[in-house]
Amino acid sequence: MAKRIALECSHAISLAVKLANVDVIAAYPITPQTHIVERLSEYVADGELDAEYINVESEHSAMSACIGASAVGARCFTATAGQGLALMHEMLFIAAGNRLPIVMAVANRCLSPNLSIWGDQSDMMASKDCGWIQMYGENAQEVFDLTLQAFRIAEDERVLLPVAVNFDGFYVTHVIESLTVLEQEEVNRFLPPRRKAKYTLHPDNPTTWGPIGLPDIQTELKYQLEKAIQNSKKVIKEVWREYGEISGRYYDVFEPYRLEDAEVAILMMGGHCGTARIAVDRLREKGLKVGLIKLRLFRPFPFEELVEATKHLKALAVVDKAFSPGGFGGPIFSEVRSAFYDLDVKPRIVGFIAGLGGRDIRVDEFMGLAEKVLRGEKIEKNYVFLQVRE
């Protein structure tokens, strides 16, 4: 029977990891992620979770330890944020390239300078090309569910890729919410307690991983990774359907809100979608046809699904909590514009960069940007920094 409890969102992830019966946790504490691994270390110390908890000296080592452990067939978890993810950068590619089904929670935090412990999505976005499946959650329930699903998806032999579950530092990580959790037996049916692995590092049957890749191999190797992550979308949807049947909570690549008859929609990922929903409701009260798309899956990016669901709109207001200096707006904005390029009739797509370094995006700011787009106001360069003081 499903149980309803209250938990800090970080601890919802810790609980999911415990229920997933991980073998190895290797992590280095960093705000705002620390609560996740702190709780996990308590589970291990109290004998509630039979796992190896490796205290490492850096995030680079945390990912390296997970890579080694995953290569011998262990189910591995780590968590990080901001600078920690940046320090892991090199090893993220090694994990994905060696097709190791590691699961990582990222408590999204702004990259320095200036020293900022507060949330935005610039950390994961700076590593978006690392070959990991990347999901974004909004609340305790969602991150609990996504974490459990992440292990199933990652370990599916048609996928074999690491998965990053992202959620906003502080705005989500430190909030206590109520959620419905699965019982251990239900989890065991969904996710077998032991991982199955075709190739492992074992002295009885030696294998070589990450050998030198001469120029006549590398293209095929990279293409194999591209195919694997593109094809993973099918499996992700399959796992979401199955999880829906167990839990009653059905997930998809994005979550529409009041979208059917909308003329304009806000599109974004993560915790601020809650605020955006309130803005949508208030605009609806004023008679404005506004909706919201909460994007959940960033890699593989759901290009076709997104176009299908939003091509009837007059305009899309994409809100990025990250940007590419010298590039074309925020990363979600760039993807969305690419998705629509080949269509003759398409919505106007406007980018807003907001919520950097923990700055809140208020209801009136969401309302303002949606109204601006709805009125067809001209916007310089098609994307703007919403909150910058001139």
Binding site: G97, N98, R99, L160, K198, Y199, P206, T207, T208, W209, G210, P211, G213, D216, I217, E220, L221, Y223, Q224, K227
Partner: protein
């Protein structure tokens, strides 16, 4: 080459044939890779000068030198990549690097 080539992997596989993550699923396959192909200079050992110390054997980065019980040494040209480390390290100056010429 003394060993039979039992290495079954296609050296230029399609992306589908390539084992996942290009993992090499059998051990000690490097012996099927003949680094001798790289060589532009070949070490020639002057047996009269050689004192049989084995330093060339221990320095060779490709384990291409065989060192026998009687102290004599021999280069396996299948694997010698011609780097010249052995000639540099030989205390008796018994090794000369001679340019390979097309036959």
């Amino acid at each position: 080459m003394s060993q039979k080539n039992e290495f079954k992997l296609n050296p230029k596989p399609s992306w589908k044939e390539l084992p996942i993550a290009s993992i090499i699923p059998q051990p000690s396959t490097s012996r099927f890779y003949l680094t001798g192909d790289w060589r532009s200079f070949r070490p020639v050992i002057d047996k009269d000068k050689c004192v049989g110390c084995g330093l060339c054997w221990s320095y060779c980065p490709d384990a291409a030198i065989k060192w026998f019980e009687d102290g004599s040494v021999e280069v396996d040209l299948n694997y010698c990549k011609g780097c010249g480390v052995c000639a540099e390290e030989c205390p008796a100056k018994a090794i000369t690097m001679v340019e390979e010429v097309e036959e």
